[in-house]
Symmetry: C2
Subunit: 151 residues, 2 copies
């Protein structure tokens, strides 16, 4: 409680990495969930898709976390936009979010398709994908996001 | 860089709160993005939906962060499951995720519909919703999640 009050007053929180990307092969990423968190995966295979939150560990510097405007290079024609209007890895909190397809689970190892993290990226959280809450196929986005890579 | 190496070795990272939920009225939540991060919202109104990551600030205790199995009370018939198979606020990293409809933006204040955070909840990140990457309407979920609230 002491710590909670302190962090709220100081406007910050602490995250514990719960796993890491161990390998990537043919578009399938293997995530190792650390032993002490492994039980948290119980029954996860009842979902076809999971949301992975990971840490952009190579963007965790003061400079990279100070970036507030970016021009997305991957999307020709994109104007300068705010970081919160982008999925840029340079952002105040270097947290990446990726909706992935769950391929397999074996004890502490889970395999997913479509994760855009690197080998060695720390994992922050795993959540089940709930289409009723998370799927908005008709959501509007700017034209420059309609082509090229999906993020 | 010093700090980055330390946090990686210690398997932890630091998040800075970028705003907070200021009020909720008739299902519309007003988020105040703190002045120093406000520029990051530039052009966000080009999207109809945004993903809000927030901090479960009332679940940020050692005990609540140690929970690895839960039985979702909101979903009758749900078995005991791992925290990563749930959207429970008790989890190793108290980060909530919510896909919301963007209603309005006025300087540092943004209004969204459907945010399940409370008044006072710290905001960790805001990301544009990209239907090509984020919408999987046909994702499979267990039967107990098909009814009642959507998360």
């Amino acid at each position: 409680m002491e710590n909670r009050g302190k962090c709220l007053a100081e406007r910050r929180g602490e995250v514990f990495f719960i796993g890491e990307v161990e390998s990537i092969e043919n578009g399938v990423s293997t995530i190792r969930v650390f032993d002490e968190f492994c039980e948290g995966l119980y029954r996860i295979q009842t979902y076809s898709h999971i949301i992975v939150l990971y840490w952009f560990h190579r963007r965790d510097s003061k400079e990279q976390r100070s970036v507030l405007r970016v021009t997305p290079k991957m999307h020709p024609g994109a104007p300068e936009i705010g970081v919160f209007t982008s999925r840029s890895p340079n952002r105040p909190n270097p947290i990446g979010l990726c909706v992935t397809e769950l391929v397999s689970v074996e004890r502490c190892l889970i395999q997913v398709k479509g994760l855009d993290a690197e080998v060695g990226s720390p994992i922050v959280d795993i959540k089940p994908y709930l289409p009723r809450a998370d799927a908005v196929p008709e959501a509007r986005m700017p034209d420059y996001m309609r082509h090229g890579q999906s993020t």
